[in-house]
Subunit: 330 residues, 2 copies
């Protein structure tokens, strides 16, 4: 059986380009004992995947050149040689960008009933869990505190802001288009949103955070983070979730030193990836599902259609072309 | 009664100079109800005091121009109008640099019996408590882990290294003279010490920390901290205690951005001042006294003599002229 897959052709320099990817036709055999054959329904494209395209040491090993890209995918089981899954099951896992693939039963989990399958790539999947743990475990916002979220319109940021509102905080987002600003204010409960491309971020932070900043959920890094840290209150907590403004850097990024400000305020910075909290996933999925079903969490997807558009959707992440979670529907 | 005091004449630019201080003669009256008259026995000079000489917002307000400098001092009560203290008592507190002064009974505490009075400015005072809480509460070193300490030969660093050894860690110090390097190895139990002025710090960190770095107790900041952070293991913990290499900067110090490395390793950075732990001082003083009395903690003082030498001793901190805690004996 023939399948199409997308492999890493060259390691991107700076922002990824179409030429960094290659479409290949491959033969797919039959599932062996304990294996299943899958066809994708929804493919997730995420900023962290850029990191794996480089050759540097990180928390996950780099993608190999000539091998398919792997990411979050919701698939249908089309053939099963496993006792755990049967034909027609909907599953999710970290899977290759391929129109058909065979994987071990250990690589996948069934989707939860009662919630849309694609939501496993977002609100109750990696981004939702990432938002949940970074905010509730690291920032630990208290009622009445001011929470700032960078990359607020992304898959993680839209959830962070809403959870912070549930916790009774003043929530200020930072995003890059007027459309996103409106969306965050109107649909995701942000009290104030700064457009970092058209507004003076420092001035607006002073305006929107008159009592300083207690919690910072950082997805972007760079100058924006410098400005936020300078406004930290005593005992501020910063969940360090992403640094997308730096991922495409070819030089070592330089900036003002932040440690004096962290020292002066007895603040905390904690880096994390969602996997650090694997033991607590069930707790979080349960809580997030409750909030979604109660209507307390509004969840937004940007859906691009067609397998061939996966690279385009991925590259679009770095151009700010998504609102909320970017999904490719096959 | 006449007394001599040392006031801040001008706010230092860069490293403090003698001209930034002025000696004045003042009249001292008599203690009112609830007050005592004190004469200093031991005066502490500490790097953090540089921060208060500038006019910028910090965790403690800046010293005022024309007012006496205030710091840790052990004094004798020479006259008392307080029910809590009597003539001849030895007390300690944050007190003015003056040959005689009158303060409220609320500003002072009695020294602990059974431990040298000057130790209240060091091992069981601010530096010892600072070492204790930063290491045990933030770094939380586990047996067999690698702990790096910058500013290792200072009042705090010499204690940090020894507690880390008590906890069963591999301990690597960084200091600035060969004399300090020898002292740390021979008297304070450091496994390895890097002379950052004569050695390649990166190369030596690789050599002395073959398993990476789990805990970092930072007193200095700047390049040294950049090198250490690049070698963090997963879940590394950094106690941010001082940034002495940056205190005298007149520009905003720039450097490579550290957050990508913190993110990549799920590491933690926590700034603190010892006051954050005020509730737990008795626990720490008790534990430190036990270790001192058992001979597990070796404590070193550099003693300068004479009231008039206080500014010189203070300025010397920034030239690396102390080994261990710098004290002026009056």
């Amino acid at each position: 059986m023939k399948a199409k897959q997308i492999v890493l052709a060259t390691r991107p320099i700076g922002v990824p380009k179409f030429e960094d990817f290659r479409f290949e036709e491959v033969n797919v055999g039959s599932p062996q004992k304990g294996e299943v054959m899958l066809q994708p329904l929804y493919v997730s494209v995420d900023p962290y995947m850029r990191g794996r395209m480089s050759d540097s040491k990180s928390y996950v090993p780099p993608f190999e050149l000539g091998q398919p890209i792997v990411g979050g995918i919701v698939s249908t089981v089309v053939e099963s040689n496993s006792d755990l899954f049967k034909k027609g099951d909907t599953v999710h896992g970290l899977l290759p960008w391929a129109t058909t693939c065979i994987v071990s039963e250990k690589e996948i989990s069934k989707t939860f009933p009662g919630i849309s399958p694609s939501y496993h790539l977002g609100i109750v999947g990696m981004p939702g869990l990432t938002a949940y743990f970074g905010l509730t475990d690291i920032c630990r916002p208290k009622e009445g505190e001011t929470v700032v979220v960078s990359g607020a319109a992304g898959a993680v940021g839209t959830v962070v802001g809403q959870i912070a509102k549930i916790k009774g905080c003043r929530v200020v987002g930072i995003a890059g288009t007027q459309e996103k600003v409106e969306l965050l204010r109107n649909s995701f409960g942000y009290d104030e949103v700064i457009n970092y491309k058209t507004e003076d971020v420092e001035e607006m932070l002073d305006k929107y955070c008159p009592n300083g900043i207690d919690c910072y959920y950082d997805n972007v890094g760079g100058n924006i983070t410098d400005y936020v840290i300078q406004r930290f209150n005593r005992y501020a907590r910063m969940a360090l979730c992403g640094q997308i403004s730096l991922y495409n850097s070819t030089d070592i990024p330089m900036g003002p030193r932040i440690l004096p400000a962290i020292l002066k305020t007895s603040s905390l910075i904690k880096g994390f990836i969602v996997r650090d909290y694997m033991d607590r996933f069930p707790e979080a999925i349960n809580q997030l599902s409750i909030w979604v079903n109660e209507g307390q969490l509004n969840y937004k997807e940007t859906i691009v259609e067609g397998f061939d558009n996966i690279p385009k959707a991925f590259i679009g992440l770095f151009k700010g072309s998504n609102e909320g979670k970017m999904i490719v529907k096959i």
